[in-house]
Amino acid sequence: MADDTARQAQTVLRLSGITKRFGALTANDAIDLDLKRGEIVALLGENGAGKTTLMNILFGHYVADAGAIEAFGKPLPPGDPRAALGAGIGMVHQHFTLADNLTVLENIALGTQSIWSPRLDRTSARARIARLSGEFGLSIDPSRAVSDLAVGERQRVEILKALYRDARILILDEPTAVLTPGETEALFATLKLLVAQGLSIIFISHKLKEVMAVADRVVVLRGGRLAGERRTAETTRQELAALMVGQEVALPNAAPREAGPVLLELRSVSTAATAGTPLRDVALRLHGGVITGIAGVSGNGQAALAGLLSGTLSPRSGQLLVGDAAPAGWSPCTALDRGIARIPEDRHAVGSIADMSVTENVISERYRTEFSRYGMIDWAAARRFAERLIADYDVKCPSPETRIRLLSGGNMQKLILGRALDPDPVVILANQPTRGLDIGAVAYVHARLIEARDRGAAVLLISEDLDEVLSLSDRVHVIADGEISRPFARGEKSISELGEMMAGHGLEVA
């Protein structure tokens, strides 16, 4: 018994005093972390709290400015992924590190055999993969091309990659961000199986629910510092949330309103397969005063739907009605003129022009009209507008001349939000409006969207975060493989029913 306890208490990993600075930003400030054998520790924190930085230091992608790492009692040399792998540390990155042009087997075997060997030994690799898949319930056909795999399967390959190298410590960076609820359940089952076999796991997340469900112990980071440590059995979600944010957070107050008139409608719309999954015979009505949520796993037609509303895409068949007429010559300009505001999914690539100033970015949708005088840009008015948005939307930025790329994600998003909402739009397309934002900024964006709804605008909320969709939306559609379900009222379907539909089973189409 004593022997058993001793083994239980064996510390497999010890990080002490890890400090990392990027320029003026201290991403990690003297962080200590212990991991015991057979334990799942969740590393909880908002975006930008330093979770991923800490794990990248552990895995050798970054070199810490100070601090030391000890794995299984031996010091780990910094900045060397090879050493980390050798010490039995495996990492499943948030963005998978798989080569799409290779098979599952090739991805797993990459770097495991001597690089100068005249022949890749596929036979032994295949046998080993088969054994590991069986042992840990991670079934996958090793000869399949990675490009053909679904997201959940890719993650399985990532885990197998680590196990193949005899990882005893597994780090998972936001592993559930891309999974359906069903896939998440399966992942958690796998993790429990792994720790039962004596592995230790660090699970990075900002989702409280998952952390409570899967972890034994939670380490909370806030602003690069250690904010606290709790055993999951002895804490609550509220307490963890408070630790994470450092203050009480108000949940969005989204008491439903009376539905207004239909402001935008899609009638059996299909789109061409130019970018991602096309829409197939989709019906959708956006009412004024209603937040309509679209729940789904990314890549199921959300891009096409967003493209339709923002004017970058036209229906191949079916009708798109704004108000009660189909606009002629559908384009981003027409969409703007009709009062459709866009909050694009990718604020860096689409939502802003990185090297232009805040002023130039905020007038980019209206420089032809309001901020133009005799065909020239009225810079004085533009600057006043930018200053007003900065004040109204609580944006932290040195001046309107600052290049927008220098702003943090949250501040950039607030500006984009301001640009979209300021002209009192009729329809608001909010595509992943809070992706990558911290809790404070998320609450802010949510509040502003609810405010716009209360003013009578129709809001279309597309999000991969099911919790966000459910907490904010007055009605929810599920999108799967280019098809959109009928609208469900708040609370009409359970999360697991929605999850089933998101996975493409039994989508209830109108």
Partner: protein, 313 residues
């Protein structure tokens, strides 16, 4: 009828294979670079440098194979410059590649003038001779075309087989292919992206230089300006045509060379009626058409032309 008779003459096929040989070397070289994620636009200049280096070695009294080795070394050296600028320093592959082409070409012409200040017509060397493979070379048409060529031509075909084997059957090839698709996959498995890419660019550049050396040491017997004449650029197109696969790229090189050999003969047959420039144009026109047809479906290495910068954001 004469147009088709050409296709059945042994001399046509001999010429096609000969024209293809330097293209095969350089295409394999470019293919290796691009599979690792580096577009090497230095190819044209590296071929010029290789052509001169091999030739001048023999001219100075070296043996033919020493010439080939020197050409390869010179190519690898330019590859090292290219790789150092594009990988650790992360500079634009386009700019560096064109810079290497200009540098290698000018440096070659400059060296030529230094080494041979007085001559007006370039001196000749004794080039590689044809070596007939016993028995096989006696087969009609195919025999002389495939089995009565210079050793460098045989080496070109061997190179394709070796490149294909290495890319698809060895751990090294796996790493090269992964580096061109998703470098972070390579790093996450504990390998050095920079090391793999630099090695690939050096090896590829060495092959390009050998392709150039073929011109001065096998196809002709002396070095003159403009002799590479855009072959490097053709090889870049051939890599795309071959969808980054050695076998398909070989087919492309052979096809292009056959068109080239064919148009030379057509000039003699129909040159009186049609201006010869029209025939000169033909292989290029056809390669554009072929490229349009084939390349639309090609899946290119996803990380091509993106310098890999480790870690620091």
């Amino acid at each position: 009828m004469e147009f088709f008779d050409i296709l059945f003459t042994a001399s046509f096929w001999v010429a096609a294979i000969r024209i293809a040989s330097p293209l095969i070397f350089a295409t394999m070289g470019e293919l290796i670079c691009e599979r690792a994620g580096v577009l090497n636009l230095g190819i044209e200049g590296i071929m010029v440098a290789g052509a001169f280096a091999g030739w001048v070695t023999v001219y100075a009294g070296g043996d033919l194979w020493t010439g080939v080795a020197v050409a390869a070394l010179v190519g690898a050296a330019f590859g090292l410059v290219h790789a150092t600028l594009t990988e650790p320093f992360g500079l634009s592959q386009h700019v560096v590649g064109i810079g290497i082409t200009l540098l290698a070409t000018s440096l070659t012409y400059f060296t030529y003038r230094i080494v041979l200040p007085q001559v007006s017509s370039p001196p000749r060397i004794e080039p590689f001779r044809n070596w007939a493979v016993p028995y096989l070379s006696d087969i009609p048409v195919v025999g002389p075309a495939l089995f009565n060529q210079t050793p460098l031509t045989y080496l070109a075909f061997v190179t394709v087989a070796v490149v294909a084997w290495v890319l698809y059957r060895t751990p090294l090839g796996l790493a090269v292919r992964a580096a061109g698709e998703n470098p972070s996959a390579v790093e996450a498995q504990g390998l050095s992206v920079t090391g793999i890419r630099m090695g690939a660019v050096m090896a590829g550049s060495a092959l390009m230089a050998v392709g150039g050396a073929f011109l001065t040491m096998s196809a002709f017997n002396s070095f003159f300006f403009e002799m590479v004449n855009g072959r490097g650029w053709i090889c870049i197109a051939l890599v795309v045509f071959g969808s980054w696969r050695p076998g398909k790229a070989l087919v492309g090189a052979l096809l292009f060379a056959a068109f080239d050999a064919y148009q030379i003969r057509l000039q003699q047959v129909a040159g009186g009626i049609v201006p010869y420039q029209a025939f000169l144009m033909m292989p290029y026109l056809l390669s554009i058409v072929a490229l349009v047809l084939v390349a639309r479906r090609a899946s290119y290495p996803r990380a091509l032309m993106i310098p890999y910068q480790k870690g620091e954001r």
